[in-house]
Symmetry: C2
Subunit: 431 residues, 2 copies
């Protein structure tokens, strides 16, 4: 089975349920070459039987800190500041590139096993993440955490480092996107934000920045800059259609208008926002403002979720919006599904997110015999409200089979090694 073995092979998925009809899906190279009625079988080097399976586009996780799988369950149910300063930050400080490599390997494995074909990451030791993604076969947009702590020396270092990484990234396969990752307005100086703005524009790069996650962030921004976070970023010309902003929980009406005007992309992170009691992204309001297709969905890191299951994230996104708005029709299943597929693909400028001829071959097969998918009155409803990642049977990303019959190559070794790395990391003495 699996990874790399079928590279460059033509794949035929035979007789699979696709949007309510039985279809054959032909994959050639990394593209969907044709979709035809079931029965008219062409030749293919490799055939997957689609009986009792449904084909859906692979899922996109639009905000992660992948290597934090190492800290899954390490510290929960704490006050936010205490959690960060006594648990998360000290450990991140002693993380090595090797730790990040194994944590990201574990994350990629978890994502593949739950039908995710892409993730948008911001983390330390960028090269560790790159190695893991190279090996896993998954797509990713990878940014190094850019934090200068308002220190000029650190700022210079970060700029130089990003220039170097950007050069390195030119040798990477297309499925890895280099992004800039200025952490947030409260950790990055205005000068550095301006540098990011210019460098991103010059090289047409996407920019990943945490935005308006907590009330404290808004309050401190008003204190320091005399403006709310979105207003501040707009005042320095930072916002553009290439800006990808996770959270966006605390937004004034004026800020929503700015986000629309600048065509900013937003990532909803419901589980993390609930677990950290940050508040709720105003989905309906953003929709009304015309930003509906600008919104994607992300899990955030495993320290604040604690998994990377995008099926769960879709369900909780919809529940969260319904519960807070008091409106049972808020974020219907179709919209939650769009958040995790086509909206995200558009956001990352990928020809993916739907299954159609000419699209990238990012295809997930669901096992319709899983009890959670029985009966199948409405597949999208079952996907969003009943399924979880364990309903995924097969994952094809960029034309490669990464999982078949729930088996991923090297899975046992990855789990064993990552677990060892995780225990060693939390027990390691500070440097």
């Amino acid at each position: 089975m699996v990874l790399y073995k079928y590279d460059n092979m033509a794949i035929l998925i035979k007789n699979v349920l696709l949007e309510g009809k039985k279809r054959n899906i032909y994959i050639k190279g990394n593209l969907i070459a044709a979709i035809s009625e079931a029965g008219n079988n062409k030749e293919a080097e490799f055939v997957i039987d689609g009986k009792d399976k449904a084909a859906i586009p692979g899922l996109f996780n639009a905000h992660t800190h992948a290597a934090m799988t190492l800290l899954r369950g390490y510290a929960d149910d704490m006050q936010l500041q205490e959690w960060l300063s006594t648990k998360i930050w000290p450990i991140e400080e002693r993380m090595t590139e090797e730790d990040v490599y194994w944590g990201t390997k574990l994350a990629c494995l978890e994502m593949i096993k739950s039908g995710t074909v892409f993730f948008n990451d911001m983390y330390w030791h960028w090269r560790g993440s790159v190695r893991a993604v190279m090996e896993s076969g998954i797509r990713a947009a990878l940014s190094a955490v850019f934090i200068d702590g308002f220190d000029e020396g650190r700022a210079k270092e970060q700029m130089k480092r990003n220039e170097t990484l950007y050069e390195e990234s030119k040798n990477l396969p297309e499925r890895i996107i280099f992004m800039l990752g200025p952490h947030a307005i409260y950790t990055v100086s205005e000068e550095s934000l301006c540098w990011v703005r210019d460098f991103a524009e010059e090289h047409d790069l996407l920019v990943h920045i945490h935005l308006s996650e907590t009330e404290r962030e808004v309050r401190e921004c008003v204190e320091v800059y005399g403006m709310r976070p979105v207003e501040f970023l707009d005042s320095i010309g930072f916002l553009s259609p290439r800006t990808i902003a996770p959270h966006c929980v605390h937004l004034s009406r004026k800020e929503i208008e700015i986000l629309k005007k600048r065509d900013v992309k937003i990532v909803h992170t419901p589980v993390s926002n609930m677990k950290l009691a940050s508040g709720r992204m105003p989905y309906e309001e953003l929709k009304w403002a015309g930003l509906r297709s600008n919104i994607a969905l992300g899990t955030d890191g495993c320290a604040s979720n604690n998994n990377l299951d995008m099926f769960e994230e879709m369900k909780i996104a919809s529940l969260f919006q319904k519960a807070f708005s008091g409106d049972t029709t808020s974020m219907p299943a179709e919209e939650a599904f769009a958040l995790a597929t086509r909206n995200a693909a558009k956001m990352f400028r990928l020809n993916s997110g739907t299954i159609a001829k000419g699209k990238l071959a990012d295809v997930v097969l669901l096992d319709l015999k899983q009890v959670k998918l029985v009966p199948n009155h409405n597949l999208i409803s079952n996907i969003v409200y009943s399924a979880n990642g364990s309903c995924v049977d097969t994952v094809i990303c960029d034309g490669r089979i990464l999982m078949e019959d729930r088996k991923v190559e090297g899975e046992e070794e990855i789990k064993k090694k990552a677990e060892r790395v995780a225990y060693e990391l939390v027990n390691r003495n500070s440097p």
Copy 2:
């Protein structure tokens, strides 16, 4: 494998992780006969290798309408009243005992596959549910829906029917508990509620009643009775330690005091309350009032959830409370786990909910090699915040192995038949 095959066999679970230590668990009949250090192996007729597994008590689903699995995904994202009157009620009206039997079979299968060993049900065609539970091997408290629509004739019918069913229930195995199921204060007359109160007291029966689920229920109660729902029920002496009340979303301080005074049991149903935008049960307030161990957790029916996965329910319960209270320390993992295990066992007067010598043998083994459970810094945290039902490997209920290595006897037939019944049901003409 599986069901009934190992009846009355002594079972040894060897070398399993139990509360952080490697243990042997011996099961004899339907009880846990001994727990000893791993290594000191006694004899047993049947041995389960506990390597890479953790033993936890089986989960309790304290509020369901099990046969509604047939309507999973049939109608979502609608206004509550439209949903009930155009989708749910017309179909329930044409359900037969055979439909309920297959729907409950499917529900039992789903629950076993996700580590649930008990459910508290209220539904139509009680005998259909009983047959399904008899065959599945799971525990259940089963009540027939008691609705009189404030009609004297229907009330008499319902009383007679419950007397008959109660008599029938005396022949059932101990793992099936007969309960009374007055639907709610807005569907059952005061006279009938008084009859339920007396019949339950006379025969020491538990009583299952939806309570304070929606604002409308509260408003109408005040209009009709001049009191809020809990006050009204208390005014007729209805509330007792045997009252099991799902939802309890809209409670005044005075009502919380009454619930405490009467030692009423409460079932939190977070997913259903969020999906139907009903509001949030005030968990922290109930805890402060001394009701912490009186609260259990339920999924509600599959039409408003849309699955029966208690792992998911624990996570969402905790997230819901954190998000609404703004307090990241609200409902920590340990408490969510207690809601789904020992609190519920106490509520239903079952010697279960923990793993200890002399307790009922309701034991679930988790597969620690599932990627969601790696690394294992804190098992309870992983269970509540990361796992889902697919992490369950083995389910033992009442001393019987209902699932081993994720295989349940008769699974394929149940899914196939229930699916057929579901499609036929929604397409059937009204009677």
